[in-house]
């Protein structure tokens, strides 16, 4: 996790600004008056449940979908007005958008020609994302993980200042996810602005500096990921949680009973808790930093009644008509 602002010395990232962005498909508001900013040189996680409007937002940012209202700009300009867009913004949307009969190398060569990138760069990137051996095979034979890597190579083709990745971890095996994390971290040290969407917080938690959380097309929360964490807490298990809790409380710590034999203590100092238990002669079965809060928070935020997933028919909130009400 890199919580500190990391504008590297060679910071060249651009600023993404989403302002009042709205998209309606018929009666359905896929994106609803969404505004947020992605700061240059930072990795921003764009989070929300499936169907929250992440992909629609990214597609509007990339000029593929026309907004019903609002604007999405990169350094003040819409994507479509950038002179050589792939050298400013690299993006990987779905892993499926390759011609199955075209080889990975040829897919990149097609894009290289369109964005005036020398062909030598194609082989460089195939090497970089680790699919050089499969470059001559037709993309239809690629595994999901290889497609993601090819998509990433396409995004990086123009050595862009901004990277926009839509669910890049989808379909990756654990080894691939680990590789992706390291890769994104490496790219962020080059000072690129990175916006990476995901429906799973823990997928990007260790990689991102900032988060933007949306649900049902609306902004739920945004800010540095450290502000999401809140205060650090320790989980402790012992035989007599009441006694330990009382002693810690006298020490001025906030203590919450979380189970028959467990407490959660708002403190960053595990030693202090251990020392207190030792003083009381209580055994400790477990003492660790409580890390589930972020996931919980994400879940709470996105499942609050007003943010409940509109795509799940059973939980569709009845807006006007109450049960039993006769129209």
């Amino acid at each position: 996790m890199t919580t500190a602002p990391t504008p590297s010395p060679t910071s060249t990232g651009a600023r993404i600004e989403i302002a009042g962005l709205t998209k309606s498909f018929g009666d359905f508001r896929a994106v609803d008056d969404l505004s947020f900013v992605v700061e240059p040189g930072r990795v921003t996680g764009f989070l929300g449940p499936n169907g929250a409007g992440k992909t629609t937002t990214l597609r509007m940012l990339l000029g593929l979908i026309r907004p019903s209202a609002g604007s999405a700009t990169i350094d003040g300009r819409p994507y479509a007005e950038l002179d050589n867009p792939m050298q400013v913004v690299g993006s990987a949307l779905e892993a499926t958008s390759f011609h199955p009969g075209r080889t990975g190398r040829d897919h990149l060569r097609v894009l290289a020609a369109a964005s005036r990138v020398p062909d030598a760069r194609v082989d460089e990137l195939l090497e970089l994302v680790g699919i050089a051996a499969a470059a001559g095979k037709r993309a239809g034979t690629y595994s999901m993980g290889m497609r993601q890597r090819l998509g990433l190579a396409a995004a990086l083709l123009g050595d862009p200042r901004v990277l926009i990745l839509d669910e890049p971890a989808n379909g990756l095996d654990p080894e691939g996810i680990r590789w992706l994390r390291g890769f994104l971290r490496h790219l962020s040290t080059e000072g690129k602005t990175i916006l990476v969407s995901s429906h799973l917080l823990n997928e990007v938690e260790q990689t991102v500096d900032d988060v933007v959380i949306i649900a049902n097309g609306r902004l739920v929360q945004q800010g540095p990921i450290s502000t999401l964490h809140g205060d650090r807490r320790q989980l402790v298990r012992t035989t007599d949680p009441d006694r330990l809790g009382a002693a810690l409380g006298e020490d001025g710590l906030l203590v919450v009973r979380t189970g028959d034999d467990s407490l959660e203590v708002t403190s960053e100092d595990a030693r202090r808790i251990g020392d207190t238990a030792l003083r009381l002669g209580l055994p400790i079965y477990e003492l660790r930093e409580s890390r589930s809060d972020l996931e919980d928070l994400f879940f709470q935020l996105t499942s609050a009644p007003e943010n409940r997933n509109r795509n799940l028919g059973a939980t569709e909130p009845t807006t006007d008509v109450q049960p039993g009400e006769v129209q």
């Binding site: 597609r59 593929l64 009969g101 964005s115």
Partner: protein, 268 residues
């Protein structure tokens, strides 16, 4: 614009489709032309109607251009697939990401298709002439006739094949669903339009309209010298440049409306 065109040409020649399309074009051109050359006879003079016998030059032309009706359907399909496969495999997303100016993308596709249309057209012409000439010469008939009549007819056939490729591209831009575009256009060009054109032509009032139909405009381009045939029923025809302009107008209309819609369409 140059970059976009280069990209389009790479797209065409990096899948197997380009030679997958070349095979049926060559086989069809050679096969049908050879069959025509082997089975048909130059028309005899008909003194009652004052029709002279068909010249060998004219017979050679009729033979070589005999398969063009199937040929232009194929080049039309080449045009449809040039854009249709992008929608089918969703590569249109990366195409528009690389070149967000959608009108520029479509213009680049037109230029690239001029190259491939000429390529397939040439393939068709060469295959038709090679097969047809072989059979004609084995029958002791003239293969290249007199003067420039045969080369001229072959060049016009090449133009017809290229123009139909453009019509296909226009239709493909207008109808993003590749399968639908192929079925609709083959249905129209092969069945509906010739029948409708024929029916209209037989009416006094329809005559002036039907000559602007694509198949009739195509005929007009290919049958200028055919003073010897079918003159028993004089049909009003366009001149060949007019015929070419009519075909060009169809492709421009389809591509124009299609491009206008494309610039407004969401790509998702």
């Amino acid at each position: 614009m140059g970059a976009a065109i280069r990209s389009e040409l790479r797209k065409i020649f990096t899948t197997r489709l380009w030679w997958g399309m070349a095979i049926p074009i060559v086989l069809l051109a050679a096969g049908v032309t050879a069959l025509l050359a082997a089975t048909s006879e130059p028309e005899k003079a008909n003194p009652d109607l004052g029709v002279p016998a068909m010249s060998q030059t004219q017979f050679a032309i009729n033979t070589y251009t005999g398969a063009v009706g199937l040929g232009y359907l194929l080049t039309m399909c080449v045009g449809i697939v040039a854009i249709g496969s992008e929608y089918r495999h969703q590569t249109i997303t990366s195409t528009f990401l690389a070149v967000p100016h959608r009108t520029r993308v479509m213009a680049a596709k037109v230029v690239a298709l001029l190259v491939t249309g000429a390529f397939y057209g040439l393939l068709f012409v060469v295959a038709a002439v090679a097969a047809g000439a072989a059979v004609l010469s084995s029958r002791g008939l003239s293969t290249f006739g007199e003067g420039f009549a045969v080369p001229r007819a072959l060049l016009l056939m090449l133009l017809v094949l290229g123009l139909w490729a453009l019509i296909g591209l226009g239709a493909g831009i207008l109808i993003p669903n590749q399968v639908a575009a192929l079925m609709i256009m083959v249905g129209i060009a092969w069945i509906l339009e010739p029948i409708l054109g024929g029916v209209l032509a037989s009416q006094d009032w329809g005559e002036g309209v039907s000559k602007f139909f694509p198949s009739r405009a195509t005929q007009a381009m290919l049958s200028q010298q055919s003073t010897g045939i079918n003159d028993s029923v004089p049909v009003e025809r366009l001149s060949w440049p007019a015929g070419a302009l009519v075909l060009l107008a169809y492709s421009a209309l389809l591509a124009g409306i299609g491009t206008w819609l494309t610039t407004r369409r969401d790509v998702s």
